[in-house]
Structure formats: C-alpha cells, structure tokens
C-alpha cells in the first residue's frame, strides 16, 4: 500500500518528558479534547504542522483499512474525529519492531478526519490528518 508523503514542521521539546507507561485513554467527548489530553500526558507544549488533506472515498464505513507510519516514532496514537468516541488505538513500538508502521481496520461513523500523532524519541510530536470519505456501504441489510 503506498503512503502519502507529507511535510511537517515539528517543534521539539527541550526537556524530554518522562515517559510513563501507557495509561488507557479516558473517555473524551471530542477528538480535540482527546488530543489535548494526550499532549498533556506526554508533556507536549505545542506544535505547528502543515498538512495536505488527501481526499479519499471508501465504499464502506464499518471496516476501513488504515495504515500509519512514522519512522523512528516511539508510539503513534490514532483518533477518528467524527466518531462518538474518537479514540482508535495507540501503537507502542518495542525493541523488536521492524518499522514504526502498522495497519489496522477501523470503524468510521461518517466522512471525517482521521488523525495520527507520533511521539518521537527526542520529545517532539508529529501530526497527520487524513480526510476519509465513506459511503453508506452497500444496499440491502
């Protein structure tokens, strides 16, 4: 599966935040709140990012295959901004991982932005947003 190339400007932290064991995300009402909560937990101050928005239309919404990739990242967290519960998954890559990339299948309640944030070893964060269109996914049943 080919990847979209995007460019980002990340602002790194001077003081690396202590990296606590992964707590489970508490329920957040919106993706913005969930993302803010994640940044707070990880001691993030702020970042500037420049994003392309890719247009895409999938023919189903209950099973959308998503690939995330962030070379060198310690972990990648994914959000579905338009889902009632925006949390999707957190991938934490261990010493035996061969790449900082993963593919999974997710549910999307409607056309929406899927957000991925990567935490880099130097304490910086990188964010990507992809707008995914989905159709109602087949007649009948």
């Amino acid at each position: 599966m080919s990847l979209t190339r995007r460019e980002f400007v990340g602002t790194s932290l001077t003081s690396a935040a202590a990296f606590a064991a992964l707590p489970s995300l508490s329920f957040a009402a919106t993706a913005d709140e969930a993302i803010a909560a994640y940044y707070r937990r990880r001691g993030h101050i702020g970042c500037r990012d420049h994003l392309d928005r890719a247009r895409n239309c999938r023919e189903r919404l209950n099973t959308v295959q998503i690939e995330v990739s962030a070379p060198g990242a310690e972990e990648i967290i994914m959000f579905a901004a338009g889902n009632p519960n925006p949390n999707v998954a957190t991938f934490k890559f261990g010493p035996m991982s061969g790449s900082q990339a993963a593919t999974t299948r997710i549910r999307l309640a409607s056309e929406q932005d899927v957000v991925a944030i990567a935490k880099m070893p130097d304490g910086s964060f990188l964010k990507a947003v992809s707008n995914v269109k989905v159709t109602i996914g087949g007649c009948g049943g």
Binding site: N85, T104, R107
Partner: protein, 109 residues
C-alpha cells in the same frame, strides 16, 4: 462474553538474520462498542478486546491499546526485525478478562 473467539496469525517460518518480516493477525470478535442500543433502546454494554501485544523471544514488537473504533474482527499488520531464531507470542486481552493467545516459530539463519 464473546463466544467462539478464534485468533489467527501469519508470520514467516524462515528468515535471514536481521531481516524485517511482516506479521499479520486476525481474531474473530464482535468488538461491541458500547455505543449501540438494542431494539428496546437499552445501551448494549461495551465488550471489546482492549489490548494486543506481540513479543518476540519475550521482547515487545508492538503493544497496541485498542478502543471501540477498532472494527469487528480486529486485524493488524506490522513488521518485526529478527536477529535470531525464536517464537512470536501474540496476546489479546478482552474486556471480560479473557486472554487469547497464539504463537508462531521462526527459524533465522
């Protein structure tokens, strides 16, 4: 309580030292989100697999925290770097306390 949960994994049986190999996993599970209501309007309680871990010879390849937006019958694909022969262990943790396990051996030469 999820019934008939069947894990499946696919990893290569052989690789060369230092090779990056692709690993895929699929497990049958309804991943009830806790957002749906039944015919009487009552919320169907959440019942999902909330964590998936793959290790190789005891060391973590990937540790995934899973949320209700993960689709029914969760699927993962990722890569591991193998330096020696050994065993991949795969563990899925269910909300109901169930733990599902599978493993796959690989010969590295």
């Amino acid at each position: 309580m999820a019934e008939n949960v069947t894990p499946r994994v696919r990893a290569p049986r052989e690789a060369s030292v230092g090779e990056v190999v692709s690993v895929r996993t699929l497990i049958s599970h309804p991943m009830e989100s806790g957002m749906r209501r039944d015919g009487d309007g009552n919320v169907i309680p959440r019942s999902i697999i909330n964590r998936f871990v793959c290790t190789f010879n005891g060391e973590v390849v990937v540790d995934v925290t899973m949320e209700p937006s993960i689709a029914t019958n969760p699927y993962f694909q990722f890569e591991a770097k193998v330096m020696e022969s050994g065993t991949f262990n795969f563990t899925w943790y269910d909300d109901d306390g169930s733990v599902y396990e599978d493993s796959s051996d690989i010969t590295v030469s």
